[in-house]
């Protein structure tokens, strides 16, 4: 029986956690209720209330003994473990020995296992996912570090169960990161995953064969992370300020707060900019009572200098891991970066230098593990293996309209199957047929695109231009077969064409057509605007001529001649090859102004007659279907496909 409900992927981190889910065949990070993509793995007990995530972090300082962070370090560990003793120095809550000598957290006289604390973090992930998906979530894939032993993995699984989640699988964090980049599909490969998070650094060497990941070795530094980078900037700022003004700001909490905020901002800015300004006016007062301002510029190279030893230091564990795996840097085929701090260009550069190849990029390093967990969850839930991969149209499909302009109907990259209809009309009075020229490509002018086929719809009852309504429908089925039909709404006459393989283009062809369109974008735009201006001019001339015919006798001879002259000039101008859009617009404007007298005459005539005006339907030049020449009529057969 098919199981219902989605399986979520959870990156249960030491510092931060994230949750993702497969949706429509691709992984999606679920934002927390606070609107962030990750949340601190912190739980706080405050009276009867339990806070998790950002809110727990915000009250951490006032409530240090009841605010539990980094509990992952104690998962499945005995209280007397060396690692526990070391980690204990970095936390302010109490840890004691529980059942079987396991480490447990003591809050307000009550014992909590690390599983119970982690369960609260997982519970938040579950709740956020449920609120996002609008359905109950009771299954999850959870990630753990590759070095986690059986008891730590078991503890993580229990944490999931306490949170009301059936843990479908425990996945190694580096494996999840590799999955996020689809490295499981590459055949045999050796992968290095460099994970520098908020507070821990892990390096893992994986080997993949037949879709199965094997962890060859792991190493790391349990107390190295992005926070150390922030501290270096803060120290530098304090030192520089002291040098310049002789004042130590580290004792002033308000100044420290401002410096902390700006240091973090500068660090982020320096990942994309070469330098960052720190401007904090009125940060202190000088001995003379004058205000002191903190203004300084930090360059990227200065930052790199400040954290040089941290970065270099991270490569020691990398070397050890490679040695344990009996590999050389050159044996590694793929490098994956995890953790927000790996956004720093210098780290990417050093990783590239060390392994001799560029790391994979594209997935947010804060989210890559959760994304991989969601993909694994998708495979288990059947979302991934059975997923219907929907194709997209590689190029825009459209048709030719008045003046040789390409009018798009289905834009490129539209997911198929899809269908789109639009109403077109005739360009000339009493036009009884229209030609549909189906185009594929990105260029503005019809002639520059590829014509997939053409057909003629005839038997349109004679009417004024712009009156007939021809509905053109483009429909692409899931096999990429394009059906184009045109239907005259008055007579009900319909004509259609079927084009096979409208999406079947080689990548090179698609790329070439896109590149051409980019190259000619400006020129094409000008051409199209000119044609549109000509259509507009002809439309104006046409309308005024028509009105002159009906009401010209109501005008002075002189006025009438002046209008006629203007219309003639406008028509001549529209017929010229080397005319510009501006000239045409100006001439059309002038013609319309000169024809105002005609409008007045029309009004008077109508008032005098006191009878309704004949139907003067607005002709929209843009919507005119290209008029077909008479000689084509004889050649055209109904439904004929003209392939070129």
């Amino acid at each position: 029986m098919a199981k219902t409900g989605k399986i979520i992927g959870i990156d249960l981190g030491t510092t931060n956690s994230a949750v993702a889910v497969m949706e429509g065949g691709s992984p999606k990070i679920i934002a927390t209720t606070e609107g962030r993509n990750t949340f601190p793995s912190i739980v706080a007990f405050k009276g009867d209330e339990t806070l998790v995530g950002d809110s727990a972090k915000r009250q951490m300082v006032m409530n240090p003994k009841s605010t539990i962070h980094s509990v992952k370090r104690f998962m499945g560990k005995k209280h007397k473990d060396e690692a526990v003793k070391k980690a204990l120095k970095h936390v302010s809550y109490e840890l004691t020995e529980g059942k079987d000598g396991m480490a447990v957290v003591k809050v307000n006289g009550k014992d909590f296992t690390p599983q119970e604390i982690s369960a609260k973090v997982l519970g938040k992930a579950k709740a956020d996912a449920e609120s996002y998906l609008g359905e109950t979530v009771d299954r999850a894939v959870i990630t753990v570090p590759a070095y986690f032993d059986d008891s730590q993995r078991q503890a993580t699984k229990q944490a999931g169960e306490i949170a009301g989640l059936k843990v479908e699988r425990i996945v190694n964090e580096p494996t999840a990161a590799a999955l996020a980049y689809g490295l499981d599909k590459k055949g045999t490969s050796t992968i290095a995953v460099y994970d520098l998070g908020g507070g821990t650094f892990d390096i893992s060497i994986l080997e993949i064969g037949d879709g199965v990941f094997e962890v060859k070795s792991t190493n790391g530094d349990t107390f190295l992370g992005g926070d150390d980078f922030d501290s270096r900037i803060i120290d530098y700022v304090l030192e520089e300020f002291k040098k310049e003004h002789g004042k130590d700001l580290s004792k002033d909490p308000q100044a420290m707060q401002r410096i902390k905020d700006s240091a973090e901002k500068a660090k982020i800015e320096l990942s994309s900019a070469a330098q960052s300004e720190i401007n904090q006016p009125f940060i202190a007062q000088g001995d003379d009572g004058q205000p002191l301002h903190l203004t300084m510029t930090i360059t990227r190279s200065k930052l790199e200098e400040l954290v040089d030893d941290l970065i270099k230091g991270s490569f020691e564990p990398v070397k050890k891991a490679l040695k344990d795996a009996k590999l050389e840097p050159k044996d590694v085929q793929d490098v994956v970066l995890v953790g927000g701090q790996t956004r720093m260009p210098k780290i990417q550069e050093e990783v590239k230098k060390f392994f001799g190849k560029a790391p994979h990029k594209g997935v947010n390093p804060d989210e890559v593990v959760a994304v991989g967990a969601a993909i694994q969850a998708g495979v288990i839930g059947g979302d991934v293996s059975d997923v219907v991969l929907l194709d997209v149209t590689p190029l825009t499909l459209g048709l030719e309209t008045l003046g040789g302009v390409r009018t798009p109907l289905i834009e490129r990259n539209t997911t198929i199957p899809t269908s789109k209809s639009q109403i077109f009309s005739t360009a000339a009075d009493n036009q009884t047929q229209v030609e549909i020229n189906v185009l594929q490509g990105e260029r503005e002018m019809a002639a520059d695109n590829r014509s997939l086929g053409r057909f003629i719809l005839d038997g349109i009852p004679p009417a004024r231009r712009g009156i007939p309504q021809v509905e053109v429908t483009f429909d692409i089925d899931s096999n990429g077969i394009l059906n184009v039909s045109a239907k005259d709404k008055t007579s009900g006459k319909e004509q259609k064409i079927t084009i096979q393989n409208s999406t079947n283009l080689s990548d090179e062809e698609v790329e070439k057509m896109k590149a051409d369109a980019e190259k000619h974008a400006e020129e094409d735009k000008r051409k199209k605007e000119l044609v549109e201006a000509k259509n507009q001019a002809n439309g104006v001339a046409f309308e005024i001529e028509k009105q002159l015919k009906d009401y010209g006798d109501k005008l002075d001879k002189k006025d009438k001649e002046a209008i006629e002259e203007n219309v003639k000039k406008l028509q001549e101008l529209a017929g010229k090859e080397d005319v510009t859009k501006e000239e045409l617009d100006k001439a059309a404007e002038e013609t319309l102004t000169s024809a105002q007298k005609l409008g007045e005459a029309m009004q008077k005539a109508n008032q005098a007659k006191e009878q309704p005006q004949t139907d003067e339907a607005e002709a929209k030049p843009d919507d005119k279907k290209k008029a077909k020449n008479k000689e084509d009529k004889a050649e055209a057969e109904e439904g004929e496909v003209v392939k070129d």
């Binding site: 949706e23 429509g24 405050k46 915000r58 996002y132 909490p253 308000q254 006016p281 009125f282």
Partner: protein
């Protein structure tokens, strides 16, 4: 049983198996279709919600970028009691209020984890003794938590 009927019954069995196979496949496809449809409906619902939120929060980035200059201007006013400068500050605040910005009143209030954050160096009391950085709401949503020191 005649040879013919044996053959016929084998054929029936084969068809039966084929039918069962197709029924299973049909059920799978129907399930898949339902899932796709559900995904789509959920997407529609969320797009609607996101749009609403986007409209309400469209100015968020701009206003967030203005919070630092606003803070600095306030410091300047506190430093120099210049009435012109004070006028400019009031004007700026009024304009931002019109766009939904609201200051979180924290001084002297009881600590509220939804709108405030305790800064390092804080005491263990319950009431806010000092505001290190003002907090703000934009259309009722916290865009900057007030950094406070408790008594």
């Amino acid at each position: 049983m005649s040879k013919k009927s044996v053959k016929a019954s084998a054929h029936v069995d084969q068809l039966q198996a084929q039918l069962e196979d197709l029924q299973i496949k049909l059920a799978q496809v129907q399930e898949q279709e339902k899932r796709a449809l559900a995904d789509y409906q959920n997407l529609l619902r969320r797009t609607q919600e996101n749009r609403l939120e986007m409209i309400q929060m469209a100015n968020r980035n701009l206003i967030e970028a203005l919070l630092a200059p606003l803070e600095h201007l306030e410091l300047a006013v506190a430093q120099h009691s210049d009435s012109g400068l004070k006028m400019i500050l009031e004007q700026l605040k009024r304009s931002l209020t019109e766009f939904g910005l609201e200051e979180i009143k924290a001084q002297g209030k009881e600590f509220d984890v939804q709108t405030m954050e305790v800064a390092e160096g804080s005491g263990q009391g319950k009431k806010v003794a000092k505001v290190l950085r003002k907090g703000y709401l934009l259309n009722g949503k916290v865009i900057q938590h007030a950094k406070v020191i408790l008594g």
